[in-house]
Amino acid sequence: MVSPQMVMYEEEFNLIQAVVDRLVRDANAKVVFIVDKNGQLIAASGDIDHVDTTSLASLTAGNIAATGGMAKVLKENEFATQFHEGEKANIHIQLVGNRVILVVIFDSRSSLGLVRLRVKKASEELNHVFESLLAKGQEPGSDSPFAEITDEDIDNLFND
């Protein structure tokens, strides 16, 4: 397999969640979430009950992928930041360490300047966490829970 599996452990998850929770407060944001480049939601915070984060996660990843495609055409490495301004809601998208995407949704209670400032700090913290997570995944003996499953377990999933 070319791309290693992403595995999220409790320790790193708590660190990531703490960064995301803090960013909601510091940036006066409505919602903050983190998605991997394949569209899998990693962590979310804020008013998430009123937002379809699964849909947003896949669309964000599609958006970043398309923007990355444009960058390639222009011989740029990556466009790391995107900002979309709406009438009520705004969305700030930041690529972190070329691996995950940090998304901040905010309204008039915040400002682009504040969001950018706070995102910058949060990105650095997140980068460290994801680096150590990646290193952990490559350590020998890091078993996936799927090592133990049987063919029967898989069959049972489809017996309906």
Binding site: M8, N14, G39, Q40, G68, F146, D153, I154, F158
Partner: protein, 197 residues
Amino acid sequence: MSFINYMAREINCKLVYYGPGLCGKTTNLQYIYERTNPDAKGKMISLATETERTLFFDFLPLSLGEIRGFKTRFHLYTVPGQVFYDASRKLILKGVDGVVFVADSQEERTEANLESVENLRTNLAEQGYSLDKLPYVIQYNKRDLPNATSVEELREMLNPTNVPEFEAVARTGVGVFDTLKAVAKLVLTELKKGSGG
């Protein structure tokens, strides 16, 4: 690339429906969406043109149930089939865990099928994947049409490696869930193998 989350006790996998323009990739997803329990699915997203041709992708999140306390979630994507959207197709293949090739059984689409399966192989190779190593199934769609090529002929052209294959009429749902189950099962089996179990 599957994503295992120990905190949420979830495993997430990405499936991509590939195939020539108008072969029925979106129709497959629409049927799955219509026939799935509301609590097992999320919203289906279609990024399409005004004439309902897929522009970027369709997306449907599904949860299949639990294995050993882990929720299994599958994200289903389609690619735009039209030839000139190749850049978009490449993007959608990133991080794929399993592929369904939807072939259009109609005789006049023979060349389009061949071209698309070749395109799939090339685009995967560009990202370092080999179609022969990925969980992969083929669906022969539109079996109800009078101008459908025989399955034997389609097999000879499109399935030289003898991967699981299914006859389908995606519009009415024939073969749709069989195809999905087969590829999902291959992906889970691959995960088990990949972890050395």
